[in-house]
Structures are given as C-alpha cells and as structure tokens.
Amino acid sequence: MNLVCRLVERSVAASVARGDEPRAAWVRFHLKRCSACRQVHADMDAIRRRLAEALDSPEPSDAFLDRVWAGIDADAPAPKRHRYAHLGIWAATGASALALVLAVTFVRDGTQGTDQSGTGRRSAMAAHDVASRAQEGARQTGQARRKAKAKPAAEPRPTDKIPPAQDALIRRLIVQRRRLARMPTATEPKGEARGSQANRGRSIRMASGGSAGASPSPAGSTSPAGSPSPGGSPSSAATPQPTLGWVDIARYYELQNDASSAAYAYRQALREKTDADTAYAAGRTSEAAGDILAAVECLAEMLAGPPAASSTDGDGVSHRPGGGLGPDWARHCSFVQRAGVLDAAGSRIWLGRVPPVQIVFRAVRTRDEARNGSPVFGFGSHPGALLDVT
C-alpha cells in the first residue's frame, strides 16, 4: 500500500463514517484504477452494515423518571439562589469600588467636619451593604459554577472525619429512625445536638438520658444499648436505649454518595467490632473515596478475619482451619471469589493508580485442588504474610 492508497483509505473511512460516497474527485479516480482500495472500500462498507446488526441498543427502563425523582426526593432540597447572584462577579467588583469611593468621601467629609458627613456615612453603609450582598451572591454563583463546570460528578476527596456540615444530615436520619421505630420523642443532650467534635467518634444515642460521652455502642442496626453510660442517670441505665450505630451512619452516607464519610463511619464501626461485613464495606467505601491505603488495610483485615474451622461455603468448598479467611468471604469479596475460581497464584489486583497499590495473591489454589483435599487458600508463606502489598 503506497502513500496514495493510505490517503485514500483515510478518505474512504471518513466517507463510510459519514455514510456517503467519497467526495473528492481524485479519490474517486483512484478507486476506479486501484482494486486494493476498492476492496478497502467494500470491506468498510460491509463492516458498517454489520455494525448496526451486531451492536445492541438497550433503552432506559420505563421507571427512569420515577427513579430520578426518588433520588431527588431522597436528597436535601435544592439550595435557593442568592438574590444578587445574577449580578455576577463584575457587579460585585463595581459595587465594592463604589463602596470604597463613598467611604473615602465619607472620611474626607468627616475630617472636614461638614454636615454632609451623615449623608456620606449612610451612603457608604448602604453601598457597603449592597457590595457585601453582591459579593456573597457572586461567591455562591462562582462556587456553584465551578462545581458544575469543573467536575459536577466528582467523588469526595478522602478525609478522616465526617464533615461538620453533615452533622445536620445525620441528625435528620436520627429523627427519621426515631419516627420509624415509633420511639417516644426525647430531648437529646445539648452537646450531642450540636454535633460536637468529641461526639463524632462515638455512636449517636437516640434516647434521652444517655450521655453524649457514653461508651460506643455496638455497630449495627438499632439495638438496645445495655451498658449504662458513665455520665448517665441510674434510670437511663435501666432503660434499654436504642442507639444508632456507625454502620447505620455509614449506610446513610453511602445512600448520599458520600464515600469519604461512609468509609470513615465504617472504619469507626470496625474499631468497635471486627466482622467481615464491616471490613469489606469499609474497604469498598475507602476505595471509592480514593483512600487506597485504608482500603487495603480494611480488605486485609477482612481476609484475616476469624478462621472458620471446617467451614463450608455455598460451593461445598471447605476452608483451611486457621487460614485467615472468614466463612463469608465468597459472599462478600468478589475479587477473591474470582481468584478462587481461577488459579490465581501470583495474580495481582490493582487498587487505584495514584499511588499504585497492588495486592499479590501468592498461593491461591483452584477449587479442584480443594476438592482433592488440598488447602483451598493460603496467602503467603507465613501467618503474617496474608497479603503482599506493594
């Protein structure tokens, strides 16, 4: 294929993509004389005809609109636009300049002791007020524009704390949970009502009488907190006090697509109680939040979960006693499941790109080997080397 033929191939490809014949006269002329290029044209035409037949074109479901509204209604109402937002940044700048000029005028008048100073002061204050409002409106507009323009669908950056602004949402959830549980309305301690920093590391107590500084409740759904709180009254110790566990909070944040807060809450739950469900959820959400190291840590914790002596999973494969894998691994950890189906010794799982983190499965056996009596899984050559994370 010479240079002319390559140029013709490009031209033919473009014409086929457009769905018409080559337009340039020299291309048509070349096609009449060159059988190879005619073949190229015919091939591309045939592929174009088959593409429509080969490719699926699924359509969105009928419930699309309903689900959109369900998603919207599950969220907080859209924020109101500021009254002066439409003025934009230029109006804000102009108003600021006007305020400055008036203020300077006022100062001059004031130092000269004229009776225009009162008027000047009022004008300056009014101008300053307008400028402040316009600046506030422009700031809100700018933030919203940057958010929408730059990356409206961006995942939250990994953080170690639930953002203070989310406390109100947590509290709304608590109220909802109380209504659902038909709990008697109770006044919560002030310290907790403010969502103070000290309380964020603990479970949120729903019933009255519980101290904000109470010991962390077991993670999970609403359940009685049997232990009396150190600062609580004797009556509160005797009354079962349902609590909102970290897992509930984490699930709530997951519904809100706030992966960072969900990961944080799951990790808090993991500190209170180690189980495969929570560890996997913590790893998954940490991964979604971009906190790769935390994800690896949590997933490794899941893999290193309580040993299942002679346990059997759904496929009838028994786990090696003391092997470091909980009985629920297949249900919770799909990539490990795939690694088990295949002989994945030495296979690598990449978690993110920056920084590059990989998990190397060192000695994963196949299920057939397991059925023959060999150990199913063995990560690493010694007990501490469950995963090789680099």
Binding site: E9, R10, A13, A14, V16, A17, R18, V40, D43, M44, A46, I47, R48, R50, L51, A52, E53, A54, L55, D56, S57, P58, E59, P60, S61, F64, L65, R67, V68, W69, G71, I72, D75, A78, P79, R81, T141, A144, R145, K147, A148, K149, K151, P152, A153, E155, N257, E287, F335, R338, A339, L342, A344, S347, R348, I349, W350, L351, G352, R353
Partner: protein
C-alpha cells in the same frame, strides 16, 4: 415561558424549562428528563458498555443536575450542561471500575455460551452469530474515545450533531473518530467480511 406556564411544554426551550425547574417546577424538570434521558442513557452506555451501569449513571446525573440547578449558567445550553455531568459521571465510573478490573477480563473470557439446542441451529447461522459476536467484541475492545461514537452512531443511529452534543466534541472530530474506528475494524475483520 408563557407556553410553559400554560402547560404546552413541547414548545419551551430547555433553558426556560431549567429556569422553571430551578424555581421549583417539578413538571418542567420532568419534561427535561424525558427529553434527554435517551441521549444521556445511550451516551453512558456507549462509554461504559453496561446498560445497568448506564441507567444508574444517567439517573444520578439528573439527580445531581437538579441539585445544582441554581448554579446553571444561562449562557450555556442545558444539553451541554447535562451531558457534561453525564460524561463526568461516566469517567468517574470508569475510574472506579479500573480499580477492580484486574480479573474482569478473565471473567469475560470465561463466560460460556449456552449450548442448549445448538445442534438445531443451522451452521451458517451459528457462523454468522459468531462473526457478529466477534465484531461486537472488537468494538468493545476499541479505545474509549473511538468506541463511544461507534456505539452511538451505529447502534443508536444518532446523528453526528447528537453525538457531538453527547460527547462534547466538534462534529468533525466525531467523523474523524468514526473513520479511525472503521480503519481499525477493517484491519481486523477484512478477511471475515469477505467470506
């Protein structure tokens, strides 16, 4: 605007509907969703290759768009805005998917074709089905920036203008990418299509 207030929403521009929706008119936003759900879904499907993921992404994009409606710039078109949200959602989904993709290709390779009743199907039909499947896989194996226009054009019959709107590209770039995809596919399938 008047038409929107009187219920004749077909004649109302997207931007006017967006302003109404920003002021709390849910029906206006429903109209916008109905107008663009097809393009949003097909674009997401073209970029992700999975209808379930595409539907989730498209729905989430509309939810996010509603949430940020007060920040909608009237100077921009609604189509460009919502599609930019869809594309960003898709890119995030692709990024998340790459995290877990180490074994995905292996899993796809091991998907077994059901063989029940295969003997009753004529051999020519099987061959044709197999070739179409190979072509489908070849399209799936195209680079992302080439695959999306191919799917939108050949599977959904979208015009270049619609594709350009969906992907945020000039129309000439769309044609160029379709041509590049066609050259790649021809090199791989030249022998098969001549049979």
């Amino acid at each position: 605007m008047e038409a929107a207030m009187t219920g004749d929403r077909a004649a109302v521009t997207d931007e006017a509907l967006a302003r109404l929706a920003a002021n709390g008119d849910r029906a206006a936003y429903s109209t916008l969703v109905e107008r663009y759900r097809g393009l949003a879904f097909s674009t997401a499907y073209a970029m992700l290759g999975n209808p379930d993921d595409a539907e989730d992404i498209a729905q989430e994009a509309f939810v996010r768009a509603y949430r940020t409606l007060p920040g909608f710039d009237p100077q921009r078109t609604w189509a460009a805005w919502i599609m930019s949200i869809v594309r960003n959602q898709c890119r995030d989904a692709v990024r998340r998917r790459k995290v877990r993709s180490a074994h995905a290709s292996v899993e796809l390779e091991r998907d077994e074709v059901p063989t029940d009743g295969a003997d009753a199907i004529p051999e020519a039909t099987l061959l044709e089905t197999e070739r179409l499947g190979e072509l489908r896989e070849a399209v799936a194996g195209l680079p992302d920036h080439l695959r999306a226009p191919v799917v939108l054009h050949y599977a959904y019959g979208k015009t270049y203008r619609e594709i350009a709107s969906g992907l945020g590209l000039p129309e000439s770039t769309v044609v160029g990418r379709l041509a590049a995809a066609m050259r790649i596919l021809r090199r791989r399938f030249a022998a098969e299509v001549r049979r």
